[in-house]
Each structure stands twice: as structure tokens, then as C-alpha cells.
């Protein structure tokens, strides 16, 4: 465990050193991450104002809090692994990863967490600024705050497992961009990024409950906003637990099959 921690610390230093080399790229990434939820926020804010200040159970201040929190949760849990894997396979980078006496997922987790820690320094003040501009109303409920931490952690782990496993498709197809696009669109609608899921039609809410997307983005946001009853929160944790188990099992099976496929075909 100590050795693994040492790898994570070194990976953090490597990622930090790499990221600061490309400051402009870092800023562009951040702008992209901020713009996306801000666009939806502006749209819903406008809709709410033109509908007498509310849409369903959401006031303009609620929309502000929802989309700003969503921005932070999405930032904390997003991965870019699906965009990287086909490159790794084509260019042989994966060969070097396979030659090392450590599972390649550790380098990716460490790299991801490092990037988040670096960029969080910028995201938090921006989120605070947006909260003031959009007059976000964030209710501070102690039990919800306490439950938010494990919910966010589970959301990160589940999303990482699901997306890392999906990226493995690249072993068979080499190009995964089409699958990326499908996944991205599904996640956009079913995780609550376009609109809070409670404002969506009932059938979509049912589908969202059955798939992992809500549990990796929407659930921690709804929880922190105090929009869930303790029973619903427990159900959310149960759903995250199920997806965690599914994710771990799939990762193990798919990784083994992927390496077998890679070692049969080569790069």
C-alpha cells in the first residue's frame, strides 16, 4: 500500500510538471468545462424568469446552485480515458504500460486525481463567482453535506470504472470515437446535465434510474441540494454500490479479455 502511494505521489508530480508546461491548454480545458454548464444555466435561468421565476420545483436561485454544483461534480468525476485509449494502442504506448509491474489503471487514476487537484484551485473561485452572479441558493444541510462526500467518491470510482472499461473496446475496434460520442450524448441527457432529472418526463427518469449516469453526476448534486429524502439517498448509495460491483467485475473480465486480444493481435 505504501509502495502504491509512492507511485501515486510520483504520478502527481509528473502530471503537475506536464500540465504546467501547457498553461494555455489548461485554461482552454477549464473554459470548456465551465462554459458547458453555464450555457444550460443561462437557458434555464431565462426559462424560469419568463415563467414567473420558477420551473417545477426550481427557482432561478435553485437552478444557479444546481448547475454550479453540477459543474463541480462533473469536473471531479470526468475522465478522458476513452479519448486516449485508441491512441495508446495505435502508437504502442500501451506496450510500455504492460511491461511495467503495475496495473496500468493506477497510472490513470493517479493522473486523473492529480489533474483534478491542480484544476480545482481554479474551479472553486470560479464556482464562487458564478454563485454570486446567478444568486445561487445553496441550502446547507449538515447530514446532506456529510453524505455528499462518500456519494462523490463513489460517483468518481463508478464513473472511472465504467469509462475505463468502455475504453477497452478500443482493443477490438481500435477506433472508439463513435462509442465515445454515443456515451457522451447518453450521459448528457441521463445524468442531469441538460436539465435536472426531476424536470424530465417520467419515462426518462425511469431509464436514468436504471443506468449508471444519474449515480455518477446527478445524484451527488441532488443530495447536496437537499432535494432527496434520507430514503432516496440510501437508495442512491445502494445504486452506486450495485454499479460499483458491476464496474469492478466488468473491468476485471474485460481487461483480461482485452490483454488477451492485444497479445493475440499486437499493435
Amino acid at each position: 500500500m505504501r509502495d502504491l502511494l509512492e507511485v501515486y505521489v510520483q504520478q502527481f508530480k509528473t502530471t503537475l510538471a506536464t500540465q504546467v508546461q501547457y498553461r494555455a491548454a489548461l485554461v482552454i480545458w477549464l473554459i470548456g468545462h465551465i462554459l458547458d454548464p453555464v450555457i444550460y444555466l443561462v437557458v434555464w435561468d431565462t426559462v424560469a424568469r419568463s415563467s414567473g421565476g420558477r420551473v417545477g420545483t426550481f427557482s432561478t436561485g435553485d437552478f444557479g446552485a444546481y448547475f454550479i454544483l453540477l459543474m463541480l461534480v462533473n469536473h471531479a468525476t470526468f475522465t478522458w480515458i476513452m479519448y486516449e485509449y485508441d491512441y495508446r494502442i495505435r502508437h504502442g504506448d500501451l506496450s510500455f504500460a504492460l511491461l511495467r509491474p503495475i496495473h496500468p489503471i493506477h497510472a490513470d487514476i493517479a493522473d486523473n486525481v492529480s489533474f483534478k487537484l491542480i484544476t480545482l484551485m481554479f474551479m472553486l473561485p470560479i464556482a464562487a463567482g458564478l454563485a454570486i452572479v446567478f444568486r445561487a441558493t445553496l441550502p446547507l444541510i449538515p447530514w446532506a453535506l456529510a453524505a455528499f462526500v462518500p456519494a462523490l467518491l463513489l460517483a468518481f470510482i463508478v464513473r472511472f470504472l465504467v469509462e475505463w472499461t468502455l475504453a477497452m473496446v478500443a482493443f477490438w475496434t481500435t477506433r472508439v470515437s463513435a462509442i465515445n460520442q454515443m456515451y457522451y450524448v447518453a450521459a448528457l441527457f441521463l445524468s442531469g446535465q441538460v436539465a435536472p432529472l426531476s424536470l424530465m418526463p417520467f419515462p426518462i427518469q425511469v431509464v436514468a434510474t436504471l443506468l449508471p449516469f444519474r449515480w455518477i453526476i446527478g445524484f451527488p448534486v441532488e443530495l447536496l441540494l437537499g432535494r432527496l429524502t434520507p430514503g432516496e439517498v440510501l437508495m442512491g448509495f445502494a445504486a452506486q454500490g450495485v454499479w460499483l460491483a458491476i464496474g469492478l467485475a466488468l473491468l476485471k473480465i474485460v481487461w483480461r479479455a482485452s490483454v488477451r486480444q492485444y497479445s493475440a493481435v499486437g499493435s
Binding site: 510520483q10 504520478q11 508530480k13 509528473t14 511495467r100 509491474p101 490483454v259 488477451r260 493475440a264 499486437g266
Partner: protein, 326 residues
């Protein structure tokens, strides 16, 4: 022979590749129906490598050298056959195995492009769990042997090809592997840098008793480092033995160089004139004719000096590659 470090029996690897004719129509057809073909990359290789040996692993492009090295390092699963390296089955990629080997691919990089090599080394130190003291000592030795001092703190992207290769080799050896698979480690490097890398490989082998399997298209690498060579072609073993034996087995000619006062004399009746410069004439004659031709030359002409040599190794290798597998 002691227990071999590398043990290979009837090693085979077959790839299934898709093929299609040129043009848009064929491209569209391939969307619906793909024509696949089996390509035999490695076809029944058998050999052993003893601890501490440096083997030159030779063959033309596409002979199956890289595929073999990838199977030996655990990146590829053989289609058939038996392989052990240091007593491990490579494709199982056990951690104890991976900690004892390295694969250097001359055309691929493991160092992080944007940061100094020393940062990538630190990451490798953590991954291979190298104790701090051993790491410092190995890094000092590698820095000294490869003259890395001024390079370690520059971003890798700012290094020349040769400098980068030296840093890559150091990264691959920080954990002091016992088996080195070197796939064209000197490709694209200038003569001075090639020589430096060769000297380093020889020194590493001497110092740590490491086993080295080296592929290279530069015969100078092979001549300087390898007593034993293994030649493969179309995935099959063509030759396994001493480098000198390769010349004996495959060269049907000898080279006779004579020093004459001028280049005027026509020597075509004695053999094929290869070069004629500054009074030196080089002839190629069939091996069986060497003694007779030498005798005739000395009897017929005012020879100042005469030497008989085997042809250059490049020429022999070219002849070997031109043959079909036996």
C-alpha cells in the same frame, strides 16, 4: 550448458490480417465483407540463450524479430510453442518477471515527452520499487556510462534523437534488469552515438552479467557485441552459431586485395574486380578457387602486397537474407 535464461521450443505466431484491393469500391466492399488472411510471423523457432550471453538476432524486415521479442517480453501470446524467460512464462506477465526484464524499442518512447527525463526516472523508481540508495547508485552509473549529465534536466522534447535514445535506455535499465531485449536500439543514430551505445551495452553486460538479445540492421553493432548470432527469415531459423561461422557457412566467396603499381592491369581473368583505387585492386573469387588464384596472381604479376579476407559481414548477411529458409 547451465540452465538457459531464455528457452524456446517450436515457437509460432500467426496473425490474422485483413486485406483488400486498392480503390473506393474495394473499400466499400470491405465494409460488408472483409477478406482475412493468416500471416505466419514466427514459424517453429527453437533456441536457448545462456545467462550473460549477447545474441545478435538478425533477419530482414518482416522476418519475425520484433514479434519474437514481444513474445519473449510477454506482450504477445504465442500461437504455439513453449517459452520460458528466467523460468517464467512471459505472457503471464508476473510482476517478478517484469521486474527482471526490459524491452527497448528504438522507434518508440516511454519517457514523458514534456518533462525532463529525471522526472520519468523518479516515476519508474516508484513503479519498480527501487530502494532509494540503489536508485541513486544505478542512476549515477548510467549517467556516467551514457554521459547523461547535461541531458537529464531538459524536457525530453528538446533532446536530439541520439540524446533521447540514451535517456530511453537509462529509463529501461534503472531497475537493473537481468534480461535486455533491444530492438534496433541504435536506429537513426549517428556513428558516434551508435558506438557509444554499443560500448555501453557491452559494459552493462560485463558489469551485471545481463543476458542481451539484440536486433539491429547495423552490422557494426553485431560485430562489436555478439559472438553468437541467430538469423531468422520468414519466421524460420536460418542460422544459429558464432558470427565467424555464419561467414563460413554462407559466404561462397573470398576477397583478395592486391597492391600493384597501377590500375592498368586487367585482372578480370582472375576473378570479379570489385574496386580498383590508388593501385589497390579488390577481387572476389569463389572460395574453392582462392588458393589457385592467389598462386597465379603472385606468379604472373609484380605484386607489392596481397591479402585474403572473408567478405564484409554486410555482404554475407545480404546473401543469407536472399536465401529461402532451409
Amino acid at each position: 550448458m547451465s540452465t538457459p535464461t531464455i528457452h524456446i521450443r517450436n515457437l509460432c505466431k500467426t496473425y490474422i490480417v485483413t486485406e483488400r484491393e486498392a480503390g473506393v469500391v474495394a473499400a466499400l466492399q470491405s465494409l460488408v465483407r472483409r477478406h482475412t488472411e493468416q500471416v505466419i510471423a514466427v514459424d517453429g523457432l527453437t533456441f536457448d540463450v545462456a545467462p550473460g550471453e549477447i545474441i545478435g538476432f538478425l533477419g530482414p524486415n518482416g522476418a519475425g524479430k520484433t514479434t519474437t521479442l514481444k513474445m519473449l517480453s510477454g506482450l504477445l501470446h504465442p500461437t504455439a510453442g513453449e517459452v520460458t524467460v528466467l523460468g517464467h512464462v512471459p505472457w503471464r506477465r508476473e510482476k517478478t518477471f517484469l521486474r527482471q526484464i526490459t524491452l527497448v524499442m528504438g522507434q518508440r518512447n516511454q519517457l514523458v515527452w514534456d518533462i525532463p527525463a529525471i522526472d520519468s526516472y523518479e516515476l519508474n523508481r516508484a513503479i519498480y520499487r527501487i530502494p532509494a540508495q540503489d536508485y541513486r547508485r544505478t542512476l549515477d552509473e548510467l549517467t556516467d556510462l551514457l554521459e547523461l549529465g547535461p541531458l537529464l534536466r531538459k524536457p525530453v522534447r528538446n533532446l536530439s534523437l541520439g540524446e533521447r535514445m540514451k535517456c530511453e535506455i537509462a529509463a529501461a535499465l534503472l531497475h537493473r534488469p537481468q534480461v535486455l531485449f533491444l530492438d534496433e536500439p541504435t536506429i537513426g543514430l549517428d556513428v558516434t552515438m551508435q558506438r557509444r551505445i554499443r560500448t555501453f551495452i557491452a559494459e552493462y553486460n560485463r558489469r551485471y552479467g545481463a543476458t542481451v538479445l539484440l536486433t539491429s540492421h547495423y552490422m557494426a553493432d553485431v560485430e562489436a557485441l555478439c559472438r553468437r548470432v541467430i538469423v531468422i527469415h520468414h519466421g524460420k531459423l536460418l542460422f544459429d552459431g558464432e558470427l565467424a561461422g555464419l561467414v563460413q557457412s554462407f559466404s561462397a566467396h573470398k576477397t583478395i586485395t592486391v597492391q600493384l603499381g597501377d590500375c592498368e592491369t586487367d585482372l578480370w581473368s582472375y576473378g570479379d574486380v570489385v574496386t580498383c583505387e590508388d593501385g589497390y585492386v579488390t577481387l572476389r573469387v569463389p572460395k574453392s578457387e582462392t588458393a589457385r588464384v592467389t598462386e597465379r596472381l603472385l606468379a604472373d604479376l609484380p605484386i607489392i602486397d596481397l591479402t585474403v579476407e572473408d567478405p564484409p559481414i554486410e555482404e554475407v548477411i545480404e546473401q543469407v537474407f536472399a536465401q529461402e529458409a532451409v
